[in-house]
Symmetry: C2
Subunit: 413 residues, 2 copies
């Protein structure tokens, strides 16, 4: 059960003109699962993306980067079951063969197709099954298929993740709809996650690329479940360009800002949904770091807290053993050397509205009952002030429960 | 139940001439527990130590550093129950008051006493209880008390950890005996752990300081349970100087090497015992990294594997989902930028004797049954060759089980 998240109904997911989605059961790893999703784009659509920083990045990620740099993209193909990561040269050949098969079916060049895979690492991708599934996915292509697509890209997710926004640009209604998947191996840069957001807005390629980074930095790059950055993470932003308004060439314009806010809001909702559905999650935790010298060190402190198994198990138990948070703050310097001169006597810690720690020690007015009250709800906010600058950052995570172990120990069995 | 570790019998723990230990029940956090240990040293004994790098280092660690720099140490006092960390200025006052109380009882100067604490963070240290417990600990002082002392410093440990070695130096028998504690919040630099090793060897202060670092780098700084570096970690090496051989002034001499090997061997056994008793551990995992450009990047890769919750849960399940190890290798660069240019096509991975992955993908000859066979025993070795240099490093960790969550969710309740 995710923490305060429900899949929106199919009717609330708005079609994006020029973007059709088709789903099929290809039997990639197990039979009778929707495991193949094809997205077909109108001519003139633009695509931009951000990808995992894992050095063992998956074959499809390598092919995506190559194709995005070379061509106008007209189709995306997503499979679940097999990640096609840690597969070496044969994996690259398989990812390219997938693009060839889609290109043949849709009468495109192979480099106009972007491949995405999620699932088990170091297993070969059964391209033949994908090829056999493509006709059914083609027959299914429809602008109204976002709800089905959200389900088709799930792996250990317990719920499908999707959402829509509309915004007025230049007197025209612009629609934005997106889907995401992921529940474990979730960490900044990026989560094990696939995210696809499409809009009918009209943007230059440069503005689209700026927007995908802007939105990722405020959404998918702010979440962590278990600190493991996946090999396959991809967040793609598609602009079909059919909305009929004047082209947006900069995010600094009024129209650019309005679109950026709407896209970022949807991306944050989709990213938070991944944490809310984090493997075994029972709590949704917002970690706000302020008073740092720069955003990077604020993020380093936030993630040191978010990745600490001791902190996460304390949240699971609703146990205000908050000294563990101070210990995590003190450890952030190991991965972020600028924090080696952190003066812990200037650090303050709040849980909810309660000041727990200041001057390097416990706030004399803090009472354990306050901490227990703040830990009880399913949504918890921690705030840490570093006392050495003006920068701030936020990240979102979940707790660490028996079910996390169960899910990850049993995943393949 | 620790993985292949039993506390040695009391009789096999050899007394070290000039080092007496006394245990008491001081009721520091709970009644009827041995929670106070006093170590009294003969005049002329020398002490050196290494400490946590956590920025929120505990008050006793700060006092230890100060006293070690100022005086000849004649006593150590260790309490469990309360860590006296995250306690600000009042915590420092409490740690110093503990030294004053011990100094008064043993007729020393306060700066000749080193204080150590382990337990819950951000709670005040009840100095009055420690003061009231000191007479009983003094009455108990005896060179034969290592077995009792090993029990008195336990927190979430399920077994006491101790060992002895003897070595011939300059025709004399030299004895080395040590104890350690720790089971969670365990990470390099250092583990949440206290380690005390004493020898009757005669060493210069410089040689002793070199030896404590040499041994720590090959023992306590090679272990991790959960990636959380504690606020209180301390590893102390005591040389009572009573063995009657010529003073060792360098580890490069034959005698120096013999002593260093024996001390390091014991320290590694004590450090590994902490991992074997890791919270919820069911497997003991040795991670060997070779072919790196330097030791630091080998360690970074080793710890990226050792800290991955996905890898650790797969070991718990004996599931050869070994792609998760490649993903962890690929993530090491995030905390160690020199690895950003890691060429994954040159990385090889073995589990036990089986070559699992090479050329960036799966070894065609590898069979899943081999991985399953290698994952089944309680002791598992992983080897990763980075293919870019001659450096190597080893670290030791354990798996991640339901019981880890249970222990850490229930610790204070």
């Amino acid at each position: 059960m995710p923490v305060n998240y429900q899949t929106p109904s199919a009717e609330t997911l708005l079609p994006v003109a020029g973007v059709r989605l088709g789903i099929a059961q290809a039997g990639i790893r197990k039979a009778n699962r929707r495991d193949l999703c094809l997205i077909s784009l109108v001519p003139g659509a633009r695509v931009a993306g951000v990808f995992t920083v894992n050095r063992f990045c998956a074959a499809p990620v390598q092919v995506c980067r190559d194709h995005l740099s070379r061509s106008d993209i007209r189709a995306l193909v997503i499979n679940t079951g097999i990640a096609n990561a840690g597969t070496g040269e044969p994996g690259l050949i398989a990812a390219r063969a997938t693009c060839v098969a889609v290109a043949r079916a849709l009468e495109l060049a192979p480099e106009q197709v972007l491949p995405f895979s999620t699932g088990v690492i170091m297993e070969p991708l059964p391209v033949d099954r994908i090829e056999r599934g493509i006709p059914a996915a083609m027959d299914n292509l429809d602008e109204a298929n976002w709800y089905e697509a959200a389900h088709a890209i799930m792996t250990t997710d317990t719920v499908a993740k999707a959402g829509s926004r509309t915004v007025q640009i230049d007197g025209r209604k612009v629609t934005i709809t997106g889907i995401s998947k992921g529940a474990g191996m979730i960490k900044p840069n990026m989560a094990t996650m696939l995210g696809f957001v499409a809009t009918d807005a009209v943007l230059s390629q440069a503005a689209l690329e700026a927007l995908v980074k802007h939105a990722a930095d405020r959404s998918f790059n702010c979440v962590t479940v278990d600190g493991d950055t996946s090999t396959n993470d991809s967040f793609m932003l598609i602009a079909s360009g059919t909305a009929g308004h004047a082209e947006i060439t900069s995010l600094d314009s009024a129209d650019g800002r309005a679109l950026a806010d709407a896209v970022t809001s949807l991306a944050a909702e989709l990213a938070q949904a991944i944490v809310r559905d984090g493997e075994g999650a029972t709590k949704f935790i917002t970690i706000e770091i302020e008073g740092g010298r720069d955003v990077a060190e604020c993020k380093a402190v936030g993630y040191a807290i978010a990745h600490s198994p001791l902190v996460k198990t304390a949240f699971f138990a609703s146990d205000p053993n908050l000294g563990r948070i101070l210990a995590a703050v003190g450890n952030a310097a190991q991965n972020h050397p600028s924090l080696m001169d952190l003066d812990t006597s200037k650090v303050s810690l709040w849980i909810g509205d309660f000041l727990v720690s200041k001057d390097g020690g416990r706030n004399p007015d803090y009472k354990e009952e306050q901490g227990a009250a703040a830990m009880a709800p399913a949504e918890i906010t921690i705030r840490v002030a570093l006392g050495r600058g003006e920068a701030r950052a936020t990240c979102w995570t979940c707790d660490f429960s028996y079910d996390y172990v169960k899910i990850n120990a049993d995943y393949r069995s």
